[in-house]
């Protein structure tokens, strides 16, 4: 449990004159649930986008160390290879499913690279030759496994866009897991969930950790963060202000002052943190 999986070193992300993430460094250990918290506008999602390749950081490095010994520099990989080679999967704050495709199809698209390589550049697949049929059966089995884990198996043939909100959140996690990642990055997975769904989410995340996949999550819901994370990183104004176990964070003065002690941050519609700070 001690070796480091993801190491973020001095990552800085600037948009023009705005420094959204400022020399942030932290480590996420293999098999841990690492949470990134902070007030709105602290740069959490920007940091996430840097890790998952949607932004290229202005400075700093992001390493991922696979168990097989290979170490990859994520900030040098093109976007799609981060999921394929880096084996980092992610979900989105505003859910991004393939709404017009069924739940099962969503999960098969997630296995695209594995299945596509079984089709022999598509030619053998069109002709119905080769091992594609077998690969697809295996893909459906994997999809079924995650549908059962997320209790979506009854809705496998429904269009993803027709699912209720909580189920869409779970489906997005299932879809990310179908890429067989070593690190799953979740951007506010509990946003918009009711308390019962939130508890179920906690169980799901612990189950995912049990399979050997590490998690990195951004979360506003302190119930989720404090209950399940092994390690918490706190950002404020793009800077890391604390880093430690949930208990340490709860007792950290800087964090209490910056975050937990101040106004209610649970409301996702609240204006960005600057307004909180602006009051003297």
């Amino acid at each position: 449990m001690s070796d480091s999986l993801l190491s973020v070193r001095d990552v800085t992300m600037r948009f023009g004159g705005l420094t959204a993430v400022n020399t942030v460094s932290f480590e996420a250990k293999r098999g841990d649930i690492t949470a990134v918290i902070g007030p709105n506008g602290a740069g959490k999602t920007t940091l996430f986008n840097c890790i998952t390749g949607f932004y290229k950081p202005s400075a700093g490095t992001i390493h991922i160390a696979h168990q097989e010994g290979a170490s990859l520099l994520l900030n040098k990989l093109p976007g799609h290879l981060i999921a394929k080679k880096g084996r980092v999967a992610r979900t989105f704050q505003n859910i991004r499913l393939f709404g017009g495709m069924t739940v099962l199809e969503n999960l098969l698209v997630a296995q695209h690279n594995k299945l596509q390589s079984a089709t022999g550049f598509g030619v053998l697949g069109i002709l119905g030759l080769g091992r594609y049929a077998q690969a697809e059966r295996a893909g459906i089995e994997l999809a079924k496994h995650w549908l059962e884990q997320t209790s979506l198996i009854d809705r496998a043939d429904d269009p993803a866009g027709a699912l209720p909100y909580g189920a869409q959140r779970r489906l997005e996690i299932a879809r990310a897991m179908c890429t067989e990642p070593v690190l799953l990055c979740l951007d506010e997975p509990a946003a918009g969930l009711n308390p019962r769904e939130s508890v179920a989410l906690n169980e799901l995340l612990l189950k995912i950790r049990g399979t050997g996949c590490s998690l990195l999550l951004i979360e506003h819901d302190m119930g989720v963060v404090m209950k399940i994370s092994d390690h918490v990183v706190v950002l404020e104004y793009g800077k890391k202000i604390a880093d430690g176990t949930p208990v340490e964070i709860r007792n950290d003065d800087a964090v209490i002052k910056a975050y937990l002690g101040e106004g209610d941050e649970d409301d996702p519609d609240a204006p960005i943190a600057e307004t909180v700070e602006a009051t003297p």
Binding site: L81, T102, L104, L108, A110, H112, N113, D157, P159
Partner: protein, 426 residues
């Protein structure tokens, strides 16, 4: 009451626009005057009728929109329609196969069948790009032209026959698809549409102006018709011809029917490949791309290559169709590959319902068949045709068949309604 006055106001506004438009055309008439001069005669009664009809039509349409019955049947109707729908495609296929050998059928109808089938094939090819991958391509005719000119020029300079050229035309068009796609596909939505439109025009202008190679506006002529295992369809009969070999009387119908079967086979090949690909990872990735490109990237799908593959495969079928066009006409010139062709094919895809194979067939019959069959109505033909298109798009805004059938299912999968399906953003 409020609604009524709003409707009246709206209709009055529309009538006013009609007055402005019709005013000079219908309201005034030029006539020779007594002393050899021209005089303007006002025709207020004709103008009043036109404006009045516009007013009533608009009012009627608004009433229909406000008070139309809530169509409770639609969901209930869906199941039986779907059940009959299952038989439409096989029935159409059987009809398409048997059509040229119906005894006594006029050769003109088979010829019309060839025309429709060419557009069905083009529609199916473009459907891969627009319907599945959600990339708006306004320059599809470029690949049609590449295919046609590939055959025309390979034949003129190297004496290649139709069957040798057919695969080459597909390969060349696909290469052009990749070549054009590389710089273009980083753009999205409207910008992609504009650039593909420009590429379509560039290809046509190059063909027009490279006189030394392509003959410029004079085109390429004398392109031979395809043979059947070495047999030609000559009217002379005798050995080496189709009629002579089979001992039948030579007739132009045989050649037309043969061409018809070639394009039917090519179109069915397009359909078969598309249907197979839809159930493959590649086809699913295309549809996923249409739904959400960012999510695709997060799942490790190479967005650029996936888009390029859609572009290339769509272009390949365009190239096949172009090759067939060249052999059927025997003569090609840049005039055959103007923007209106791209627009027609795109209209077929949109009218049919993007992504639906059967929809493309129905739309091609409507778009190509109806104007041809309405020839007897002469000048009113395009008016009726335009009106029909407007009405179809009002009644079925997402095309004839806007639903989507899942490519894989655990149990019994239903049909996915149009409002779930994204139209793609480039």
């Amino acid at each position: 009451m409020n609604q009524l006055s709003a409707s009246l106001k709206d209709s009055a506004a529309v009538a006013f626009v009609a007055l402005l438009i019709f005013g000079p055309f219908l309201g005034l008439q030029l006539q020779d005057g007594a002393s050899n001069n021209l005089i303007l005669l006002p025709r207020p009664e004709l103008l009043a009728i036109a404006v009045g009809l516009t007013f009533l039509a608009r009012l009627g349409f608004l009433f229909w929109q406000d008070y139309r019955p809530p169509m409770p049947g639609l969901t209930r109707l869906a199941a039986p329609v779907q059940r009959t729908g299952k038989y439409i495609a096989p029935a159409l296929l059987v009809f398409a196969v048997l059509m040229p050998i119906i005894p006594g059928i006029a050769t003109a109808y088979v010829d019309l069948g060839i025309l429709i089938m060419t557009y069905v094939m083009l529609g199916w090819g473009l459907n891969i790009v627009v319907g599945l991958a959600g990339l708006l391509d306004l320059g599809y005719v470029a690949f049609y032209a590449v295919g046609a000119y590939s055959y025309g020029l390979l034949n003129q300079y190297f004496g290649f026959g139709f069957w040798e050229c057919l695969p080459l035309c597909g390969i060349l068009a696909a290469s052009w698809g990749i070549f054009l796609g590389f710089p273009v596909l980083r753009l999205r939505g409207d910008y992609l549409a504009i650039v593909t439109l420009a590429f379509g025009e560039i290809i046509r202008l190059v063909i027009t102006n490279w006189v030394a190679l392509t003959g410029g506006p004079n085109g390429v002529d004398g392109i031979p018709h395809p043979g059947l295992f070495g047999l030609t369809f000559s009217m002379a009969g005798g050995p080496g011809t189709f009629a002579g070999f089979f001992g039948v009387t030579p007739s132009p119908h045989q050649r037309i029917a043969y061409l018809y079967y070639i394009i039917l086979a090519l179109a069915l090949l397009t359909n078969w490949v598309t249907l197979r690909l839809r159930r493959q990872p590649l086809g699913r990735a295309w549809e996923a791309l249409r739904e959400d490109e960012i999510a695709c990237r997060s799942l490790g799908i190479n967005v650029r290559n996936t888009k390029l593959s859609a572009f290339a495969i769509g272009a390949m079928f365009g190239g096949f169709a172009g090759c067939f066009f060249a052999t059927r006409e025997g003569f090609i010139s840049p005039d055959s590959f103007t923007f209106i062709e791209s627009a027609t094919v795109l209209a077929i895809v949109v009218l049919g319902g993007a992504g639906s194979q059967l929809g493309v067939v129905l739309a091609a019959v409507v778009m190509i068949g109806i104007p041809e069959l309405l020839q007897s109505l002469q000048i009113y033909r395009m008016l009726i045709f335009g009106l029909a298109l407007v009405i179809i798009m009002i009644v079925r805004p997402r095309g004839f068949i806007s639903t989507r059938r899942p490519t894989v299912s655990l149990g019994k999968a239903g049909i996915i309604a149009a409002d779930m399906i994204s139209e793609g953003h480039g």
